[in-house]
Point group: C2
Chain length 206, copies 2
Amino acid sequence: MSVEPIRDRRSERRQATIDEILETAWRLARVEGLAGLSLRELAAEVGMRPQSLYSYFDSKHDIYDAMFAAGYRQLLARQAEWEMVGEPHADVRTMADTFIGFCTEDPVRYQLLFQRTIPGFEPSPESFTLAVQCLDVTVAQLAELGIDDPRHIDLFTAIGTGLTDQQISNDPGGDRWTRLIDDATAMFLHHVSSSTPATRSRRKRP
Amino acid sequence: MSVEPIRDRRSERRQATIDEILETAWRLARVEGLAGLSLRELAAEVGMRPQSLYSYFDSKHDIYDAMFAAGYRQLLARQAEWEMVGEPHADVRTMADTFIGFCTEDPVRYQLLFQRTIPGFEPSPESFTLAVQCLDVTVAQLAELGIDDPRHIDLFTAIGTGLTDQQISNDPGGDRWTRLIDDATAMFLHHVSSSTPATRSRRKRP
DNA sequence: GTCTATATCCAGATAGAC
DNA sequence: GTCTATCTGGATATAGAC
């Protein structure tokens, strides 16, 4: 009987082509800019006619969406490698390092994942779910450290994106803002610990 | 003699047309996205043929450049209205309110002025000078308050862009992050005041 | 200054043959 | 799946009439 194919060579080949297209798309986007990505050039780089790309993706936005999902899967993988020690400063620093490092090492990916600069592009619900998961992981980890005030969480994400944004915009490739991560971590944690826990819960370590 | 024209009606008319083109360009960019601005639609909206725009601007990038300069002149005007009282918290808050309010009230303007998302667009040296002036005003004002450590200045700009970025990206039109400005100001000022001013901005351990 | 007319080049997308 | 052929449209630029 021939109805239990362990591998589907056709699917594998198709997936390999899709992967190659996406890899090439990332490379071109880093050179030409995210919005400057051209299907003609993309097709030429993978040895196809532009129209043939439509066998793999419904539209240019569909390619952006696949890149969006791939980017968030990479960030989720990075977060899965976290080794927390239970000490707030070290752990918050680890979280900030992960996020800011991930963003600054590939500004085009940061632009696609965290800014909305492609006219008309909205991630699909499935892709957006990955973005929500990343935030959930962050929120859960902060809660482990006793940081559960929504305002504190929002402040943390603002500090992370702020350092990232300034680093990318005003000192690309340098460390003018990334070297401030340790100071910013201390600043943030002092603020959290000095907030009046009147209406909010404080550290809840069982 | 007839060589003392108080007004040049021809120049005035030309300038009025330029202003109308730029106003329309802003309006379209807010609808279509900054990168989605089209010269055809822009010309149609001001009642011209697309080619006629070239009588006023050399290229599309030249239009972006004029918008860039106009945006920074608006921010400079906003900064010129500052009424400082000499009290760090109030004054830093005023500065943060000005910047974040200016950015969030027009995300497209923020994108053009502070992010680099138009492939191939670089502001002209003359326009870039305006951006430098805005930063100079901020740095000078922080110095008035005794904040002159470059790391503190960089941290301040990072907090401002972080709150702005999160507000625009994740709660457009709301106040989820802008309402944190007061907390962030206190957090920042405590960090500044607890740093040792003598050595290399290391955190002091009392 | 603005128009008509024209030109090239590039872009995303679709139809249908093989 | 890939191709040829074709469509619509944008960006840039130049010609010359009025």
